[in-house]
Symmetry: C2
Subunit: 359 residues, 2 copies
């Protein structure tokens, strides 16, 4: 059987395409529209309490009977460090003052990790979404077997061969190979260790050493990209940036405007927004991160500062502190309803295959 | 006509494959073997005086009547800064002392840029190699028209859409799209400005906006990579790391040993070896570069220090300061004579095409 068809069967989808989970961008409407179109929609739930994730799963189910994916953040829980946090806030204070604001008195851990969150596992086992995916590493030891037992397919995001080996040993069903081109948070397991491997090299390196199906992610924006990724040995692709401009996404007007224009041409990776490396449209916080040797507060404690600063600036119509995540292919994003975008991508992929066959 | 066939005709080669010019690795023997096998061999001549480049061209011609490529470095000539250089040598002094050596008293500009080197242009116009390629930017205004007039095809290495636009405006015939995965020196025009775009995203971005034929470079190690690059819109590929282990290359025993083993799994980009960003097997100089905020001497003045330090260490059997350039696909390198490697790559590419056609 063709490599991608085996994965389609495993995920019970028609097209080898996953809409990337994107916190703040993906919505039940977007996931449902993608899944209804025959690809795999995803919910980016990292930010939410268990009840809210459950509500999102239920909302998505009201819109589609097709399978979809629920993404979890598996980072080591943040360790508070009041001195480090105070230093960071002091460094950002002049930026707050530009907008007549004060930095918050203290920072909070605004997103809870899936690690140790047994209520989250219990909810997933009760609601049984078809697919659960992991970011920032792997869940606690018992989770993958428990999810499998419940009939849930698991996807682990990896950025390097060593991470792929860990995910395979832990029993993940599928590897999402996230190349350096990808928008949003780097899936690196250890925040201090990033090999920055590009999609092209990463997929090839993993294809040679892993027996698990691979999903290529990073820089894939059209059907030629899908064809190329499959040629490299992937069984499917994951695309995030391509879906941000869909009307079903939760991206705000300023985000959409920048993604449609010249700012899309300049993305960069910074930890200064959230505390962990993430790729987005270059803004003032990228610059501030580069200009200091301060050790950042842990993820997502630093994110609390970044969000407060964005809020202060946005109140004055300034979007230069916004977390507008985007991959290196951002200038190729198109503005289409999700179902139409999926169909267009699959048509382009088939055409690319036909052209290759004709050569 | 198929996109890659037009380029094959333009370059008068049989296979859509260029062996990357690699100073210190490529040799007339390697270039000739690759060209004889139907791909395009390259000479990495950046380091050499005009007479020596001419001698290399003549040596290559004794070994093949097929076309080959001569690569030129077009960096802004170094500006000496004795204070900056003294600071850098002082920083490296403890490393020299580990091997009972002293840093050199002063540093020299060891490689001359093609910029302003009219004797180099005159030699090229007299010897007329089939192809001339540019790295680190573009040559002086009159060069590309003069080379074209002489029947020489020009290739410009670019790492971002803005550089592609400059190369196209300057009249280059072909763009080499160098992705972040690639080994060796980043082709960035401005050493202070690197968008770090991965091969996958870069080829797609350029394919959408440039009418020139594209050569994909970075992370391509086998026939699946060739098929994928062509699927992305490239008309050919350039591969460097894949050729280092060929017996015809000038790579030394230590370099080969590290490339065959575990060190191949860890590459990084540093400017601390030469003064400009380059990707290679991670060594002590990568670390030293990360641990300081000193401004490095200009390229290639810093390289004089790096080479002196390597020499001091190598005299004690230590290879941890060596410039062992390699791309992110390094673990996939194979050890074959160049002609056999070319044939193997082309066979794999054809097989990958057949498999895609069968889907």
């Amino acid at each position: 059987m063709r490599r991608h068809e085996a994965l389609l069967r495993q995920l019970a989808i028609r097209h080898p395409l996953i809409q990337a989970p994107m916190v703040g961008v993906s919505t039940p409407r977007l996931a449902a529209a993608v899944s209804e179109a025959g690809a795999l929609g995803s919910l980016g739930t990292a930010a939410a309490p268990v009840d809210e994730i459950a509500a999102q799963i239920r909302q998505t189910r009201e819109l589609t009977t097709q399978p979809f994916n629920v993404n979890l953040f598996c980072h080591a829980p943040a360790v508070a460090d009041p001195a480090r946090e105070a230093d960071w806030l002091a460094y950002l204070a002049p930026e707050f003052r530009r907008f007549g604001a004060q930095p918050p008195a203290a920072l909070r851990e605004i997103y809870r990790s899936a690690l140790g969150n047994e209520a989250l596992l219990a909810m997933l086992l009760a609601l049984r979404p078809a697919v659960v995916s992991f970011h920032f590493g792997l869940p606690d030891g018992g989770w993958i077997p428990a999810l499998r037992e419940a009939g849930i397919v698991t996807l682990a995001c990896v950025t390097a061969p060593e991470e792929a080996a860990l995910a395979e040993a832990a029993g993940a069903d599928v590897l999402v190979a996230q190349g350096y081109e990808a928008g949003g948070h780097r899936g690196i397991f250890d925040p201090a260790r990033d090999a920055c491997i590009g999609t092209f090299a990463l997929v090839r390196l993993l294809a040679r050493r892993s027996r698990l199906p691979l999903v290529a992610a990073g820089g894939i924006m059209d059907g030629s990209g899908i064809a190329a990724a499959l040629q490299l040995g992937a069984a499917a692709v994951q695309m995030g940036t391509a879906f941000i401009l869909c009307p079903e996404s939760a991206a705000g007007a300023a985000y959409r405007e920048r993604l449609r224009g010249a700012p899309a041409q300049q993305t960069g990776v910074t930890a200064a927004i959230s505390g962990r490396a993430a790729r987005g449209l270059v803004n003032r916080l990228h610059e501030l991160g580069e200009q200091t040797t301060l050790r950042l507060p842990d993820y997502p404690i630093a994110y609390d500062a970044g969000k407060a600063l964005h809020q202060a600036a946005a109140a004055h119509g300034n979007q230069d502190y916004a977390a507008h995540w985007a991959g290196q292919g951002a200038p190729l994003a198109r503005e289409l309803p999700a179902a139409q975008l999926v169909q267009c991508l699959i048509d382009e992929w088939h055409e690319a295959q036909r052209n290759a066959a004709a050569e």
